[in-house]
Structure formats: C-alpha cells, structure tokens
Symmetry: C2
Subunit: 156 residues, 2 copies
DNA sequence: GACGCGGTGAGCACTATGATCAGCTCGTCC
DNA sequence: GGACGAGCTGATCATAGTGCTCACCGCGTC
C-alpha cells in the first residue's frame, strides 16, 4: 500500500483530535480548501486507509472487560480448518499467524474470569490445536496510538 | 463500565456498516426517531464507548506494513520507567502488561524487516528490560471484529 | 397517583454537503 | 520553451442534515 502524504497525515491527525468534525471544520483546521479536504477524504476511504469502524468500539462497553492473548500451536496442515473454527467463537476478536515458536496469536475478550476460562477451553478444543497458553491483559500501559507515526508523516 | 443496551448495539452495528452515515440515515436504518439517535450517539461518545479514531487507521498506509509482537521480561521495580521509555519509541503502538511468564506485550509496526530489527534492538536496549522475543505477524487470519458480540448484544 | 425517564414528532434557524466550474500553480516530458 | 496533466482553489448551486427546543406520551417506580 502506497503511504499517504503529509497533507493526508495532517488530515488524519485532525480527525483524531475531533472524529465527528465536519468537512468544513477539518478544512479550516488543516488550512486547506473545503474542496481539497473533501476530495482527499474520499480518496482515503476508497484506498482503504481507514479500517473497520468496529476497531473504535471498546469491548468493555459490550460487557467484555477482560482481554487476553491466547498463543496456540496448531497442526499446520489444518490451519484453514482451525482458523474457521476460531472465527466461530464470538469472543475471539482477532487471530494472526506468527513467525516464531507459536503459530497463532488469538486475541479474546471475556465477560468474566470464569468466562475466559471457558473460552480458553473452547480454543484448546478446536481440532488441530495442539497447545495453548493464555496471558491475561492486566493493564494497558501504552494505549494503542499512531500519533508519533502520523506526526512524522505530517512533517515530511 | 456499564454495557450498552440493545438499541445502542444496533446503532453501533449500523455505524459499522456505514461509518460516515448521517444521523438521519442511521435513524432510518435502526427504525428510531432522529432525535433518539442523536441523543444516544452523544451519550455513547461521552461515555467513552468509542475509543481513539487512530484505531481505525491502517499502519500500512503510514508506510509501516510490518507488524510484530515483542514479548518482554522486565525488572518489575522499574516498570514505570520502562513503560515511559517504550512510549518514546514511535513504532511502539501499544504496550500491555500481562499476567503470565512474560511481563509486557509490546506491539510494534515497522517500515521494513530491517527497521523491525532496529526497533526490536531499541526495545531490548531500554534499561530495565531483561529479555525480549519478537514474533512477526505474517498474516491476519481473522481481522479484528466485534460483530459477533454486537449481534448478541443487539438481540437482548 | 405523582414522578422521572426515555422515546416521539414537529418546528426552527443555521450549516454542511456534494457536485460542478474555471482559474491557477506546479512539476514533467518532449 | 512550451504543452501537458495533476492537484488546489474559491465560487456557485440546490438539497439535505444539524443542533436545538418544545409539548406530548407511555412506562415503570416509589
């Protein structure tokens, strides 16, 4: 994916500061014509720079305040099958394939510690999963952020 | 955090389907009065249900197509210090404290494999960090999602 | 039965939207 | 040098959405 330019980066920064801002407000903030902002926003969307809206939703607000990473080792030949089964567990919010000792990193959320135990069990019960290790997220020390990278891009 | 109710969940689903939808469009979609939707949206925002806008931005669009998880073991007594130092590395996009063998899970993004190597070095170089292990994300098998949970909440 | 809460529909002035236009300044290419 | 295309600009337009306030109503609570 082609990286965005400095103007787009500033636009994204402005959106970060005020997500519900109107196009005219953004135009004023970044010092561009409304026309330009409108065109760039459209381009950003169509280029897929902005991911799912769901990423902004706090799982805690959905009654799932607990978050954990389940590292799993799987039978590589059954990877597709395993992925599909994991996707059927509602509390599984993300699965990525890793290079390293572990094969899969499964991010899950849970309503309670008890529920988490059950969910971890469901992951282990998936045919093709050989071993799992669950690590509970106790605290978000640095909340997800992209500002430093946006800052760098904006000053290009 | 108090979980949202079914109506809010449907609202969030509608937003997920069409993030730039106007309030009137959302009202029509969920079958509520425009007034109600407006009030609920305001409440959702003020309750902090919606996290940072940056969460929606694809790091690849910022020129950082590589993503990795760096698990680290730290001197627990220097945790605050370590966190602060990690936060100063631009490519560190999230740090969480774990319960388990590893202390910290550091999510980083990088411009290239070479850059990733450098960044992993920076993490290890932080005073108080004792050991690190870097796992490159090769593929997103299940992209981040909250739909299954939203669905459940919407049908309450 | 009084109360408060949340949803409703209506109305209002104000503002934003999306689309289109010609004009302008770049840098690129021949 | 000159033609070209891309991108930003400021203008205009009709249409639509916004934010707000109001009175009203149904519902569960005390």
């Amino acid at each position: 994916m082609e990286p965005v330019d400095a103007v787009d980066a500033r636009l994204l920064q402005a959106l970060g500061a005020e997500p519900r801002a109107t196009v005219v407000a953004l135009a004023e903030r970044v010092g561009l014509a409304r026309n330009t902002v409108q065109a760039r926003l459209t381009r950003l969307e169509s280029r897929g720079v902005l991911g799912d809206f769901a990423r902004r939703i706090d799982p805690a607000a959905l009654g799932h305040p607990l978050r954990a990473y389940v590292t799993t080792r799987v039978d590589q030949r059954r990877l597709a099958e395993v992925t599909e089964a994991l996707a059927r567990i509602p509390e599984v919010v993300e699965v990525v394939g890793l290079a390293g000792d572990d094969d899969l990193l499964v991010q899950v959320v849970a309503r309670s510690a008890d529920a988490l135990y059950t969910i971890a069990g469901s992951v282990l019960a998936v045919p093709g999963v050989e071993r799992t290790s669950t690590a509970l997220v106790m605290r978000q020390l640095v909340p997800f952020r992209l500002d430093p990278l946006l800052e760098r891009q904006a000053s290009t």
